[in-house]
Amino acid sequence: MGAKMVEFNGWDMPVEYPASIGCGIINEHMAVRTGVGIFDVSHMGDIRLAGPQALAAVQHVSMNDASRLAIGQAQYSAMLYPEGTFVDDVIVHRLATDEYLLVINAGTREKDFSWVRDNTRQFDCAVENLSDDFTQIAIQGPRAVNLLQKLTDAVLSAVKSYWVTHGTLCGVHGILMGRTGYTAEDGFEIYIPTDEATSARVWNEILAAGKEFGVVPCGLGARNTLRLEGKLPLYGHEISDTINVWEAGLDRFCKMEKPEFVGRAALEKAKAAGVKRSLVGLEMTERGIAREVYKVLDAGGREIGYVTSGSPAPFLKKNIALAYVPVEFAAVGTTLKVEIRGQGVAAVVVPTPFYKRPKKSA
């Protein structure tokens, strides 16, 4: 499609599709906020755990409480090192009584799989890397449900957020469709068998069926700006092996009432010792765009932290950023500066997420 490609963790990935077909990051971003866009996200990895002790294994390696999942339900979670820092964030799907699917990031696929395999050896459950078996396509936006419904017999309006269903899609049986995404918008992620003919056919059928909704193909660029507006963390930016759960502000996905999981003990200690820094949302109040790794300064110009992600926000039409700063600078309304090409440019701490989609029934 003439997309601008970039190498991303060993994958050739589209950054954006050309302006000549109505794309470009801003148009792609706006399509997802107001209509529908589709993303080829086959770089995501999938790990299946199946067996009598699959739940115990998932509970051991992830911080959320997978025992709360009904069959067909999913949850946002993370895998932690014993230090309470991040191996990766993950979506945990419960596919059957003793079967779970972990959806993980591209750059960390092999690391994640080894981590899960090595840390679940004591459990009676098989761990399989299915990453090469599926092509993942994300259909995102308020019209995503209308688009996808044209192509499947599954009743999508009955699928709640963070639930999955199976159905026939574009003539292919048994396709897993989850009402999940990484755009802070309604939408679905679907898992197609990897063979190139099938995945290309499904992609093209989705584009054709979406014409009436103004569907556009979207690249990694829009995926990044969309997730940033929604304050969804990206590994290597907001979360990493040097950042813990409390600093990242992911407390509500971390269930300390679980008696045991990898990282729990360190997190208990970290909480008792007091959290030193915190992830905050910044909005630039002077002209300038904060970018990853730029320094954050206090009002007096002293370096106090750094930007993890920053960009113009196409829907909000503001320049926004996420940054780590000491907790005493984390209150909403705090005036800070971001160092841009040697100059301190004014910014203010704002509530997050920057964007929250309007509430409506599914």
Partner: protein, 129 residues
């Protein structure tokens, strides 16, 4: 895209046009295409002394930050203020959206720059990579 033959080009994807006493500098269609949606143009102040091949400003798209390199040495005589509020004009009309006007220090410097034809060949090779 045919590149206008009424100006010279750099390998850093700027153009420079001499039109009587008026000398304008901008970025090429290839540059705007590679950058994507342009959201920010930072130009020097009037009176700034530029040196050929050195940075004189910054252009930012949603995804990237890129330096601007001066095609020639000289003094900035005018800045296109319109691009501060409407930077997307660079995407729509790259060869019509000048960023700065220059008083050249040494007009002979332009002889070392690329013609439209040579620049077109150069970007065809770049794009092939």
């Amino acid at each position: 895209m045919a590149y206008p033959t009424d100006r010279k080009y750099t390998k850093e994807h700027e153009w420079i046009q001499v039109n009587g006493s008026s000398v304008t500098v901008g970025i090429t269609d290839y540059a705007q295409e590679s950058l994507g949606d342009i959201v920010f143009v930072e130009a020097p102040k009037v009176g700034a002394e530029l040196v050929a091949g050195k940075t004189f400003g910054t252009v930012e798209s949603v995804k990237a930050v890129s330096d601007l390199f001066s095609p020639a040495s000289g003094t900035v005589t005018e800045v296109n203020g319109e691009l501060a509020t409407s930077p997307e004009k660079v995407n729509k009309d790259p060869h019509g959206s000048w960023m700065i006007k220059l008083a050249l220090k040494n007009p002979g410097e332009l002889d070392g720059l690329l013609s439209a034809g040579d620049y077109e060949k150069f970007v065809a090779e770049e794009a092939g990579h």
